[in-house]
Symmetry: C2
Subunit: 387 residues, 2 copies
C-alpha cells in the first residue's frame, strides 16, 4: 500500500467489523465516526474539545479550503494539521459533492468542473488531477478522489453516465496520485504529508447493477480505501441500507469502507452491521446548533417549554461534560436566550453521543454481542423526536 496507512480487521460480528486504521497521524479504531469541520474548524467547539471527546479522525473539505484560505498558504504553514491545530488523522473530501450542489453556477465537462466561487464569483476549475494536487498540498491523511454525485430521482441512464464519468475521473485521479507520490517534484506546490493515501468513491445511485460496475472499476484502480458516495441524498432509508449492504459486499475485505455524509444514529448502527468502517456527517453538530440533543432514548428538542424547569441532565446515562454539569432547564434557558454557549454545550454532547455510540459498537463487536447491542439500541432510540 503506498503512503503510510494500513488497515486490518481485528474482530467480526456478522457483517460488522472492528479494526484499526493506521495513518501518519495515528490510529483510528473502526468503526469510526469523523466529526465534520468543513472549513478546518468544527462549529462552536475547539479541536482540543474534539480530542477530549475521543475523536480519532475528522473531515474537512478540499473545495472550501481551496477557495479560502487556499492550499498554498496551508502548505506554507506546514500542512493542514499544523494550520488547523489538529494533530490526528484528517480526511479531505474532494469537493465533488459541494461543486455539484452549486447548480447553475457550475458547468461539468469531461475535463472537470468549472464554477463560480460562492465567495467572490471568481471562475474556478476543479479536475480529477488538480484535486489530487490540492490535497497533496493540504497534506490530509486520506485524500478523496473527485467524483460526481447525482441527486436522488435522476434516471438510471443519467446515473450511469455520471457513474462512468466518475470512473474515468477516478482513473485520472489515481494516475495523478501515483505519479505525484513517486515524483513529488511534478507538483507545483509542496507535499505536506508524504504518507497520504487516496480513497476511491463508488457511485451508481440506487441501482445495484451500476453500483456493481462502479465498485469493480474503482477497486481495480487499487485505492487504499473505498467510499460509498451518493447516498443520503433523499432516497428512503430502507433503500439506502439495501444499497450499502449490496455495495460493501463488492469491496475488498482488507480496505477501509467509508460511507460518506451519513447519517442518523440508527444509520450508523445499521450500516456498521452491513460492513461500514467509517462515517462522517454534519447531523450531530448541525442539529446541536438547532437545539436537538441526541440521547439514548432518542432526540430531544431542548427549546420545548416542557424542559423549562426540568433539572435532569439531557441524558441521565451520559458521561459528557454537558450532561455531567448542566440541566435541561439551564440548556433550554441558554438556547432560548440566544447564548452562543448553548450551541457549544449542545455540540459537545452530540459529538460525544456519536463517538460513544461508535465505541459501544466496537466493544460489542469485540465481545461478540453486536446483535444484542443493535437490538437494544433500536428498542430505546426512536428516530421520531419526542414531543
Amino acid at each position: 500500500m503506498p503512503g503510510s496507512c494500513s488497515f486490518r480487521v481485528i474482530h467480526r460480528a456478522g457483517g460488522a467489523r472492528a479494526g484499526e486504521f493506521q495513518t501518519p497521524h495515528g490510529r483510528v479504531q473502526t468503526p469510526a465516526f469523523a466529526p465534520v469541520g468543513t472549513r478546518g474548524a468544527l462549529k462552536g467547539v475547539t479541536h482540543r474539545d474534539v480530542l477530549d471527546l475521543g475523536a480519532e479522525i475528522i473531515l474537512t473539505n478540499t473545495y472550501h479550503l481551496h477557495l479560502r484560505p487556499g492550499a498554498p498558504l496551508i502548505a506554507q504553514a506546514g500542512g493542514l494539521h499544523r494550520f488547523i491545530g489538529w494533530d490526528r488523522p484528517v480526511v479531505t473530501d474532494s469537493g465533488g459533492y459541494q461543486v455539484f450542489s452549486l447548480g447553475d453556477r457550475r458547468e461539468i465537462s469531461e475535463e472537470g468542473v468549472v464554477f463560480r466561487s460562492h465567495l467572490d464569483g471568481s471562475l474556478q476549475q476543479l479536475t480529477p488531477e488538480n484535486v489530487v494536487d490540492i490535497q497533496a498540498q493540504l497534506g490530509s491523511d486520506v485524500a478523496m478522489a473527485f467524483d460526481e454525485c447525482p441527486s436522488y430521482g435522476v434516471s438510471e441512464i443519467e446515473v450511469r453516465d455520471s457513474m462512468e464519468r466518475t470512473l474515468r475521473w477516478a482513473r485520472r485521479g489515481r494516475d495523478r496520485f501515483l505519479d505525484t507520490t513517486e515524483h513529488p517534484d511534478v507538483l507545483e506546490g509542496e507535499v505536506s504529508n508524504s504518507g497520504q493515501v487516496q480513497f476511491g468513491i463508488v457511485q451508481g445511485g440506487v441501482f445495484k447493477a451500476l453500483r456493481d460496475e462502479s465498485a469493480r472499476g474503482t477497486v481495480a484502480l487499487g485505492f487504499e480505501g473505498f467510499a460509498i458516495g451518493g447516498l443520503s441524498v433523499g432516497e428512503p432509508v430502507a433503500v439506502m441500507y439495501d444499497i450499502v449492504e449490496h455495495t460493501t459486499q463488492s469491496l475488498p475485505d482488507d480496505r477501509v469502507r467509508y460511507l460518506m455524509g451519513t447519517g442518523t444514529p440508527q444509520d450508523l448502527v445499521e450500516c456498521v452491521a452491513r460492513g461500514v468502517d467509517l462515517f462522517d456527517c454534519v447531523l450531530p453538530t448541525r442539529n446541536a446548533r438547532n437545539g436537538q440533543l441526541l440521547t439514548r432514548e432518542g432526540p430531544l428538542s431542548i427549546k420545548q417549554a416542557r424542559f423549562a424547569e426540568d433539572l435532569r441532565p439531557p441524558d441521565q446515562d451520559c458521561e459528557c461534560y454537558t450532561c455531567r454539569r448542566f440541566s435541561r432547564a439551564y440548556l433550554r434557558y441558554l438556547f432560548v436566550a440566544g447564548e452562543m454557549t448553548a450551541r457549544t454545550l449542545n455540540t459537545l454532547h452530540n459529538i460525544h453521543f456519536y463517538l460513544d455510540t461508535m465505541r459501544r459498537m466496537r466493544n460489542a463487536i469485540e465481545l461478540g454481542s453486536f446483535e444484542t447491542f443493535r437490538q437494544r439500541f433500536h428498542e430505546t432510540f426512536s428516530r421520531r423526536p419526542r414531543s
Copy 2:
C-alpha cells in the same frame, strides 16, 4: 464579618495591594479580574474553559437572571453555582446599572424602579429590598447593593440627588440583608448560600466631595466590601483614575475594593496602582467577538488583510491555547469566514490576557517590583490599535 467571606492584604507596593479574598466557594487571589457571564454563561466559552484559564471569580447579573430564568428556578436547582455549572466564587451585580440603561422604559421613585422587561414588556419592579431577596435565592458569594448610576455629563445637583438616594437605598438594602441573614425564614424563597456577603457601591460621579460623602455613608453601613460604581461611563480616563485614587483612600483598608465595569488593560494596571482589588469588564470578551485580540504589544485587529499570511501566533509570548496552537492567518481566516470557533478562540485568548495580566501584577506586588512592571507594561502596550 457576617457570611463566610474574609479578606486580608498580604503584600503592598505603594497603593497597590495583593491579598486573599475567601468566599464560601473558594479563594480569590487579588488583584483579580472577574470575567463577565451576565446571563450565567460567558459568551462562546464554557465554564470549564474559564476555570482552565485560571479565573477564580466571575460576574453574573441579577437583573438578567431575575427576568429569565428567574431566581426561584435557580434556587430550586440548588443555587446559581449548581445551575450554571461553576463551583467557584460568583458576584451578582444588582441590576441597577442595567435598569437605568432602559431609558424611558423605567420610572425611578424613592421606593425603587418600575420598568418594562426587555423580554416580554411585562411590568417589573426592583427595590433595594427585593434585589437582596433575589440575590439570596441566587446564592452568589457576593451580592451587590442596589444603586443608581447616573450618566456622565449630568449636573452636580442631579448627581448629588442620585448619590443620596443610592445611600438611602444602601441602608434599606443593608437592613434587609442583615434581617434575612439572621432570619432566613422572612424570605419567600430559599436561601441558596448562607455564606453570602454584601458589597455597597460608592457613587458620586466625577465630584470628589460627593464621592467622599458617598464613601462615608456607605462605609458606615458596614458592608463586607465596597465597590466604586458610576465610572467608565464616558468621562476622560485621567478623570477616572483621579476619582478612583481619591475614592480608594476613603475606603477601609481591610475590605475588598471593587471597581465595577472597568476597563482596558491599562485601566487595570493604573487602578491596581491606586488600590483596587477586583475588576469586571465585558471588554475582553466583547472585543474578542469583534476580532480584537489583546497582546503584550497592544491590541491587534485580526480581520486586517495584513494578517492573511501571517503564520505567527497572535502574541509570541502568550501561553494560552489559542497562541500555542494557531496562527494569525488561521484566526483571521476563521473570523472572516464567520466560523463560530473564531469567537471562541479569540475569547479564550483575551480572557487569558486579562487573567495573566492580573497574575503578573500580583507577582510584581509580592516581589516589590510593581512600579517596574507598571512602567514596562505601558512601554510595550499601546492603547491605540496597531494598524
